[in-house]
Point group: C5
Chain length 84, copies 5
């Protein structure tokens, strides 16, 4: 899983119905030099600035109540910044 | 998911039947220094220059009516350019 | 999906039975500075020098008649070189 | 699979129920110049400093007793540091 | 699929039962400047120094007799070094 920081949200009015109700967060990776942002869906209420844990690929299905075309999902919010 | 800009389309007459009816868009990543383009299928009508949200891998199946060998699919069109 | 050019084939006599009958093509990515080659299976007859469209991961199963351990498959041959 | 060294753990009180009981380890890749850390779940008891073998993506399901949104899992602890 | 050279093996006494009987090979990528090694399981008997073809992700299941948490598997041994 990837540790990342929520830095923004994206808004999309024209999207698949199965994405309705999912917040779309812009995530900046916490580890490494490559800070290329990506988008993760969220249903647990992560806020801007929080550090989150993200799972990728088809494993997102194990956390969703209905199937959705989502390859990145917030699965946890970190209590504090890791020391390493 | 990846945010990208539609920069072109590709035309392929010799392709799998299950790809018929899917537009094949050339996508330039929006975030990061690496602007290496890739191809995503589209059925929601994204146009050249628009910013789109793309899911990858086997999660594309949750948005397709029939199975297709597609590892990148446009699932939303962004209303506006993200501030970050 | 990835756009790539067929630059070679690989020959493997000792391989899984389910790979029999699949041509194994060496592909050079068309977009980007990283030209690291990889191998894609092909059953639609792409020839050396042609530009092809490749799907990756477990989505290859939607184009194969029988299951095979293949994470990259040619799904289309481009009519012409993209302008971008 | 990836060889990595356990360098830390992350703590997340707000997470999916299916992640309860899984230790979340920060892993530093052993091979290569890119030492960008990631998080892997662990149920076999790897300790800080140990070298572990990690599988990624949806293959984690084959080692879990119940489905969980996890894209990286420790599947083995190395007996010793590889010579190469 | 990835072409790589077998450069070592890793030994793990503490691992999932489903990994028993699978040889764990350290693989150096053949193509490209990035020679970061990874581990692939092998059941067809590839030896050190040989060039092999590796499939990744959940496609490994199509070559395994029983499910195993393995995201890289040797599926063929190359007859000779590719000219490109």
């Amino acid at each position: 899983m990837i540790v990342g920081r929520v830095v923004n949200t994206v808004v999309s009015s024209r999207k698949y119905d199965s994405l309705q109700g999912l917040k779309l967060l812009v995530i900046e990776p916490y580890y490494g030099d490559d800070k290329t942002c990506f988008v993760a869906a969220d249903i647990i209420g992560a806020g801007t600035g929080e550090l989150v844990l993200i799972t990728t690929g088809d494993t997102t299905k194990y956390a969703l109540e209905k199937d959705a075309p989502i390859d990145a999902l917030v699965v946890g919010i970190l209590d504090r910044e890791p020391s390493i």
